[in-house]
């Protein structure tokens, strides 16, 4: 505290100014967020109460109706739509995984590349995918290509960004130690940075996995022959909400299975991370 008093007067005014500015900005931003929350919720409630042209049963079909839809279309779904969607999802996710890792590594390696790639990354996420999809069809034709590309576009961003953050977050003292031991920069990368980034990589991959199925269905919805997206589109155009719900349920199921798969792989590869976090025999504490 004594340091505060001995500081030059100019410095003290400066800190005071900074404190006031900080408080002001926080109040304005916080107030704005609160106002938007209240008016937004009000809007939603108003609109929902105004449009009452469908009965509740139409909007929420009974589980039996959904089961009926499953029985009717089981073969079609299992043999054509689901395999198609799954193939697009897995292909897209795998490409996104490699692409994300490469981008993260490049951004980590060189500052110049970071300056170039970072804006491109962000912009790639701001372009409406719908606009791009048409372009993709022009490039890849009407086949599976555009759908896989849509999945890639959805998925590579969280992987790249999270992995990059993980690589940057590696303990600098650990890296210094490796350098002091004579490690080359490639060795510090493979032996310290990359392993340190693994937990972040997996949380990126988990987000990507949840997006991936949605991405594939989105792509199929635009135009496709097979896939859950097409099934969903046809259900809506024929007002078969039971079928639409079936498609939604299957989508959720696929996403969930994918996330579980990621979790399983994570548990197996990051054993150290989980022993550290839940050392069950020791319980919480600092040792």
């Amino acid at each position: 505290m004594s340091t505060l008093l001995t500081r030059p007067v100019a410095r003290r005014w400066q800190t005071l100014f900074q404190d006031v500015t900080r408080a002001l900005v926080l109040v304005v931003v916080g107030g704005l967020a609160l106002t938007m929350f209240v008016t937004g919720t009000a809007q939603l409630v108003r609109e929902a109460t105004e449009t009452k042209n469908l009965s509740l049963e139409d909007i929420f079909p009974s589980p039996r109706a959904i089961a009926g839809a499953w029985q009717a279309h089981q073969d079609l779904l299992l043999q054509q739509h689901i395999p198609q969607t799954l193939w697009e999802t897995l292909a897209g996710l795998s490409i996104a995984l490699v692409l994300g890792l490469v981008i993260a590594a490049l951004m980590d390696f060189s500052t110049v590349l970071r300056w170039i790639l970072y804006p491109i990354l962000v912009v790639s996420q701001t372009i409406p995918i719908f606009a791009i999809a048409i372009l993709l069809i022009l490039i890849f034709g009407f086949g599976t290509g555009p759908k896989i590309m849509v999945v890639v576009l959805f998925c590579f961003f969280p992987i790249a960004l999270n992995t990059f953050a993980g690589l940057q977050g590696a303990d600098p003292e650990l890296i210094s130690l490796l350098r002091a031991m004579g490690a080359s920069s490639f060795q510090t990368w493979t032996k310290a940075r990359l392993p340190a980034a693994m937990p972040s990589f997996f949380s990126g991959l988990r987000i990507a996995a949840t997006y991936s199925v949605v991405g594939a269905i989105f792509g199929e919805y635009i135009t496709a022959q097979y896939g859950l997206g097409v099934y969903l589109k046809r259900s809506y155009s024929s007002f078969r909400l039971d079928q639409a719900y079936l498609a939604i349920l299957l989508t959720a199921l696929l996403s969930m299975l994918l996330v579980l798969l990621v979790n399983l792989v994570e548990r197996l590869t990051l054993r150290w991370y989980y022993t550290a976090r839940r050392a069950s025999w020791r319980g919480p504490g600092i040792y």
Partner: protein, 270 residues
């Protein structure tokens, strides 16, 4: 013990700067260590001891002055010495066994051979049975021992040990001190050893360097002329006590309060 200087530190100073604040860590430090010499360094907290190790290991360069190892300037050449930092800095994703073989692994030695050698050393370091444990499941002292083993296995002729026995219990400490003296003698290592323990500083060393409070400079060099092996001398011996007293006096004469502070605000918050 040969007379060839193995480490030469010439008029080294180092100042850290960040946004307008300057902290001088080292001011005009000079000393040499002969090949095969055991030098301990003692001094108040914040007197630049760890900074000195960073300079010798080539992680940073001094502002002025020069550091030579075996007659060649270090500059930013890393990997010449074995460094044991103050924090254990074990890789959390590696088991103890894979952590301690990091040095040979970086040097391109086969992992199998490195592991075999490491396994043999485990019992001595009290790590037997913990080869496959992750660092986060070890106690602080065990982690420290693993870090010491890792440093030893890097197989460098010069070892820089930054408070290696800090968090150890008295018994393990004594045992490892004996072990260190033994390998120092057997493998003719040159050791710089930072400690806060006056008794340890005298017990291990050929020579003790006493650092002043920040900015660190060497205020006293104490030659320890006790017979070797040290395990033969009694811990209550007159000579040992006399040297310890001398050391304490040098330290007290340079307590933190008596040195003028060059920075405008204390980064330690003390």
């Amino acid at each position: 013990m040969s007379e060839r200087p193995c480490i030469e530190v010439r008029a080294v100073s180092k100042t850290f700067r960040d946004d307008g604040r300057a902290v001088q860590a080292l001011a005009d430090v000079s000393f040499t260590a002969r090949s095969g010499e055991f030098v301990t360094i003692i001094g108040p907290s914040g007197s630049g001891k760890s900074t000195l190790f960073n300079l010798i290991s080539g992680l940073t360069e001094p502002d002025t002055g020069e550091i030579m190892i075996d007659g060649r300037p270090v500059r930013r050449d890393t990997g010449l010495v074995g460094l044991m930092p103050q924090r254990d800095l074990l890789l959390p994703w590696r088991t103890v066994l894979n952590n301690v073989i990091l040095g040979p692994e970086l040097d391109g030695v086969s992992k199998r051979a490195a592991r075999r050698r490491a396994r043999e050393m485990m019992p001595l370091f009290g790590l037997a049975g913990f080869e496959n444990a992750y660092p986060d499941t070890l106690s602080g002292g065990m982690r420290q021992r693993a870090a010491l083993l890792r440093t030893f296995l890097t197989d460098r002729d010069i070892l820089l040990l930054d408070e290696p026995f800090g968090p150890l219990d008295a018994l393990t400490r004594r045992e490892l001190q004996r072990w260190l003296l033994d390998i120092w003698h057997r493998f003719r290592k040159t050791i710089l050893f930072i400690t806060h323990d006056v008794e340890e500083a005298v017990y291990l060393a050929d020579r003790v360097l006493v650092f002043s409070a920040r900015p660190g400079r060497i205020v006293k060099e104490l030659t320890v002329d006790l017979p070797r092996p040290r395990s033969s001398i009694s811990l209550l011996s007159e000579d040992l006590r006399r040297l310890e007293a001398e050391l304490l006096e040098a330290l007290e004469g340079n307590g933190p309060a008596s040195t003028p502070e060059r920075v405008e605000s204390d980064p330690d918050g003390s």
